[in-house]
Assembly symmetry: C3
Homo-oligomer: 363 residues x 3
């Protein structure tokens, strides 16, 4: 079947002013408790690298979320804030979403970007070490965002690097900015998770599809979830692995007051899950494969009426498009929010928050 | 043979101030009838997608051409007009010319660009749907330019997209901005085509090499040609296909007062063609192949002395380089003009024409 | 072994303010003789292409080095100097270092960039000639930086090109901006090489690994070395080729007062070499291969205490990382300086030096 471009043009004319799809919580909600930004907290990120979710305590995550909210509300003019700075995007592992998200974020705050989108064109292809590539970035940029298939890449690049580095995903280890975007979405949706006191019977039940010990988005997301133990009742991890957490995470989870259990019955758990964190793939020890139907969600799934679904995207058959136009769809807003979160991180790393908001907004 | 760079340096020293090659009509010619811009006409493009040549009537094509002429004449300073905007170039089908042309245009008006130059590095490679990729661009950019091998891509990307999209070529369907550039060149060459009244014996005879129904540049070019029926006498389509037009185009052509016929004898037709629209390839039902010698032009071809040749480029053997330094060569100017046309479109889409020219230039 | 990102984050916290590694000479040294810039000399580059080291006499090399020093010292605000200009990076041969170096340079002076990082996505893949690609750049950019595997590419691109071109490496012919960066590093290290009068017994002995006649970085470096014959005693070329220079170079070298000899014994020569220019590869007539151990340097090599090593990078086993933290390491500073040199060239090509420094700095 073909739909000629001329027909599409007619259709778009009619849809020119349509609203965003899915659940789009108002960022103002995040700002109703304490609208001012704690600049001493944000200052921890000055000239810092953002490599792991472990660097974020509840305070820092909240202040970054609040700054992101101001940016998303477009309250202040920041489009020249970083005009003298260059961000290098070093993507040794292909990615469109994360790379374009960072580039868009940097350009929106007036910054400049240089990119390596494909490892085959880089020095690595010539056998150059990651240490030397790290040294190279000292001369070309003021901050570098890295994605690599190997966990060790962050450490190796870091050896000679003297500029801040943002981890855009290192193998199966971490993806901290994705997790920050995930929680920014959840805190817009229910700011009381961070700022309020949820009665016991309404504390959150979260379901996570995947194997945190082996999947970077899930690992980072879970680490940040533990920060909100006061308002989270329970986390269920749906995985087919024997040991889904791995050592480091298991210790953190054992020490947390949040009840954490493991299950293989997603469909049977839907009736009590408030948040479902979905993924496209499962690591099973013998390689990546796609989820079976048991782990799929669609408009017929027996979700609670107010359940929200997160997904780092790209998605496949595990998350049906017939959920897109429902209020369960927080995953589009989650991806959209990532650009504001990355703008916030860049402003904080370069100590330009003071230049971007009025003084009386800072405490 | 080698020519060392040192020798080339000497040669370039001598040629530093050389003039452009080929036929370079003065853009002032376009502005001599009504120099003022009809802003109500240009406003039709505000926040609009540009997907098909069918969106352009004669008025809009003329006003865009006039605005392009002002930009080419560098009369007004526009290099910050779109400084707060981001254009995404999503090129799922490789292209250097079109991508760089758009990027250059956006940067020249102060805008920012992010790019996907190679589909192998995108989510599509991960099996992500074009609908989801369209949704993604909502967050990363203010306008997206798309090129894809499949006709359907424009419709699929458009499903969730809420920002304007410019069609940079969708399969064999359309390439509207290329056609606008083609006609911008022709209107600079003979503005009376649009603005004047050409006596019958001097009305244009146009030759088009190719199969409009299956070749996007040719299809879009022909659609715009029909707008100038008052001053075009005849269009000859040189194709080896049984049905070169396809249904939609055939209806448009049948309804047009312009005489349209089909021929396989390009060489025998040269003596009466004023404009020849060449192409590198012919779609023949069994795949693309290159033209035979019958469809080649060179300095020995029996062209009328004032015939101009268009070609969307890249070109191969069908268009000989020995024509480059002749007045027949309008194809270099055609490619050059495309950047100004794309600047004009971007300014109109973002409603920044008023910011770019003096008020007294607008009616 | 894995090092989790969380651990790297801790380590980087401790190293946040660490100093650059290796030998980092103060650019002020270059400015102590005649701090003012000879604008008549820099004006030779106005609208000029930079294709060959042969274009640089001692005066021009020195003035470019001085301008680079001012830029590296960040004495003047240049971050909008070229805001209305576009640089195209046309990299038909993959390179990360050179492309990112030029992009970083252009962005730092306020310019804009468009890039072709991979020839497979270009018109060349469609069989388009380099002449036509040169013509294309006239419309898209104000300056084009080119790297290509073929020597002839510079001449072919140049045929229709009307904007300045910078040669980023054409086959085995030249790499002039790399050589300028090499000598910028050496002049920062010992400005008396250019500006002073070194007593005979302290004049420089330089060792060059490689085959200048066949290796572009080495050829360009050697050509510039000959400019400093007053303060260079001897150049030894370590190559296994029968005719390492080729005709053009041999004539230049024969005419030079500098003593030039050939050797295969690098290790036995270390005791008298002040500067060693290393390379990763050797052209041997039957293709490129890596150097044997005889041509490797490491912390145990019997270098003079104050010998400095240059290397255009990427490096392999020929230059051991255990030299990185020693004062022999000038190769990191050499790469860093290349960005400042490229900024200086761009400012000079576009005649924006006057806009970038105070009038009283110019003579």
């Amino acid at each position: 079947m073909t739909i000629p471009a001329s027909k599409v043009a007619e259709d778009r004319e009619a849809s020119r002013l349509r609203a965003p799809i899915g659940n789009c919580p108002n960022p103002e909600g995040l700002l109703q408790y304490e609208p001012r930004l704690r600049i001493d907290v944000l200052d921890r990120l000055r000239n810092a690298s953002v490599l792991s979710a472990a660097q974020f305590d509840k305070d820092l995550l909240c202040e970054i979320s609040k700054l992101s909210a101001y940016l998303q509300l477009r309250k202040y003019k920041v489009n020249r804030a970083l005009e003298d700075k260059i961000m290098a995007a070093a993507f040794f592992e292909p990615s469109t979403r994360t790379r374009l998200s960072f580039e868009s974020a940097m350009l929106s705050v007036g910054g400049n970007t240089i990119s390596v989108a494909d490892a085959k064109t880089t020095g690595v292809a010539k056998g150059e070490s990651l240490q030397d590539i790290g040294q190279m970035f000292n001369s070309y940029a003021d901050v570098v965002v890295v994605r690599h298939t190997e966990q060790l890449a962050v450490a190796e690049l870091s050896e000679y690097l003297r500029i801040p580095m943002i981890n855009g995903g290192n193998g199966s280890d971490e993806h901290p900015t994705q997790a920050l975007a995930d929680w920014y979405a959840l805190l817009k949706w229910r700011p009381e998770i961070a700022f309020g006191n949820i009665p016991d019977k309404f504390k959150l039940n979260i379901g996570i599809i995947g194997t945190p010990g082996n999947m970077r988005t899930v690992k980072s997301f879970l680490q940040l979830a533990l920060l909100f133990h006061e308002n989270i009742n329970h986390i269920t991890i749906f995985s087919e692995m024997a040991d889904p957490l791995g050592d480091g995470l298991r210790e953190l989870c054992d020490a947390s007051p949040i009840g954490i259990n493991f299950s293989r019955d997603l469909q049977g758990s839907l009736e009590y899950l408030d948040v479902i964190y979905m993924n496209a793939i499962a690591f099973l020890g013998d390689g990546y494969r796609f989820y079976s139907e048991d782990f799929q969600l669609n408009a017929d799934s027996k979700l609670k009426h107010d359940t929200v679904i997160l997904h780092p995207l790209a998605r496949g058959e595990e998350l049906s498009t017939d959920l897109d136009r429902t209020q369960h769809n927080l995953y589009f807003n989650q991806a959209d929010g990532a650009v504001w979160v990355r703008q916030a991180l860049l402003l904080a790393i370069f100590d330009r928050v003071r230049n971007s908001v009025p003084d009386n907004l800072l405490i």
